[in-house]
């Protein structure tokens, strides 16, 4: 608390609650979230990636892993293509090429690495590109849950949408994850507005 020049102390202000809106900065294509390395040069990285490509088959495999019913691949392909934004979590593993001879000394160049990538999370958003967006299909591979990756995924997607001036960012949340989204700044039933789904009755 810094006293003003006149000698009287400035009143203590509550610091504003940090929001995903703060300090948006330029658009992000890739963000390294987690990294672990080994002395032999192998490493594993978990990366947030904005924009594809995401293979429909990889996504459906992930959906099956989390227990969601299967969807026709052609539809999933079209849905990804027609989404305004597709954000993914990628596990990138770099291993020394087993076919290459190991370096014989420290002056030698390091062993070449084989890099593989695996889809371990996804979120996509539909939008009118101007006012509204709805986030769908948020999922993280169960093997990688519990590390804050889902939160990072959604937060980065929200920030990307905000950078594009999409001011109304919505989603539909299973009751079990309402608090997860609340913590990020989403509100359920804002001003009493209810989410509704069309089911056939006739």
């Amino acid at each position: 608390m810094i006293p003003s020049r006149k000698g009287s102390t400035a009143s203590t202000k509550q610091p504003a609650k940090p929001s995903l809106e703060d300090n948006l900065g330029p658009e992000v294509d890739e963000l390294l979230l987690l990294e672990s390395g080994q002395p032999d040069g192998s490493k594993a990285e978990i990366i947030y990636r904005n924009g594809g490509p995401v293979a429909a088959a990889d996504l459906e495999q992930l959906c099956t892993k989390v227990g969601w019913p299967a969807r026709p691949l052609a539809k999933v392909e079209a849905a990804l293509r027609n989404s305004f934004m597709v954000s993914s979590l990628v596990l990138r593993v770099s291993l020394p090429d087993p076919a290459a001879p190991p370096p014989t000394g420290p002056e030698q160049p390091p062993a070449p690495l084989l890099v593989s990538e695996q889809l371990i999370g996804l979120a996509r958003a539909t939008s009118d590109h101007a006012f509204n967006a709805t986030i769908w299909d948020v999922l993280v591979d169960p093997e990688y849950q519990g590390q804050g990756l889902g939160k990072a995924l959604v937060e980065q997607m929200v920030r990307s949408l905000l950078r594009k001036d999409i001011s109304n960012i919505t989603l539909f949340a299973d009751s079990k994850v309402v608090d997860f989204y609340k913590q990020m700044g989403f509100e359920a039933d804002p001003e009493g507005i209810k989410g509704m789904f069309w089911y056939p009755r006739f």
């Binding site: 009118d128 590109h129 109304n168 804002p190 509704m196 069309w198």
Partner: protein, 185 residues
């Protein structure tokens, strides 16, 4: 699990809502017709309609972009000159965004207050929903203000099915209209 996805309703093909009053009845009794698609829509006129129903006016350039990236638009057009409307005037509107295959969301359902209570809101929603269902989209959603929840329930929309809640990211902005005006249908 961070899922926000709803299981496809009832598997199989969904049956569309019935059209409770045909187009001909609206033409005969009210002198209005239903138009599909954004051709013929002037953003200035759309903004006027939004203003009349209490929605915020939108930046015209962004509104144009929104229309270009909307999956389906249905609007109501007056076919006669009267004291309530000019010939050709837009008196109702509704649109839906979608990925074209899996999910859709309805936005901006608006009927000119002078024309409300004549079934146009319901008519718009029946036709828009029917189109989405016939296109094979299994998840059709909307965000409804409390006073219209009942109307949508009558059409076959269910609120918070299986406890699923509609949520919106809260902006810090000094937007006086609040979340409701942006979100409402």
């Amino acid at each position: 699990m961070y899922g926000t996805r709803v299981e496809e309703a009832q598997g199989g093909v969904l049956r569309p809502p019935p059209i409770s009053k045909p187009d001909a009845e609206f033409e005969a009794k009210l002198g209005v017709q239903f138009m599909e698609g954004r051709e013929g829509i002037l953003v200035t006129e759309l903004n006027e309609l939004f203003e009349k129903v209490g929605f915020p006016r939108r930046d015209p350039d962004r509104l144009k972009i929104a229309l270009e990236n909307t999956y389906h638009v249905i609007w109501v057009r007056s076919t006669r000159q009267s004291r309530l409307a000019k010939n050709g005037q837009m008196i109702g509107f509704a649109r839906a965004t979608s990925d074209g295959v899996l999910s859709a969301t309805v936005w901006d359902v608006a009927v000119n207050p002078a024309w409300q209570r004549s079934g146009l809101g319901r008519a718009l929603m029946e036709r828009l929903t029917k189109k989405l269902v016939e296109d094979g989209i299994p998840t059709i959603t909307l965000y409804a203000e409390p006073q219209v929840v009942g109307l949508y329930e009558k059409l076959g929309y269910v609120r918070d099915p299986e406890g699923i809640r509609g949520m919106a990211f809260q902006r810090k902005k000094k937007d006086k209209a609040g979340a409701g005006a942006l979100l409402r249908v």
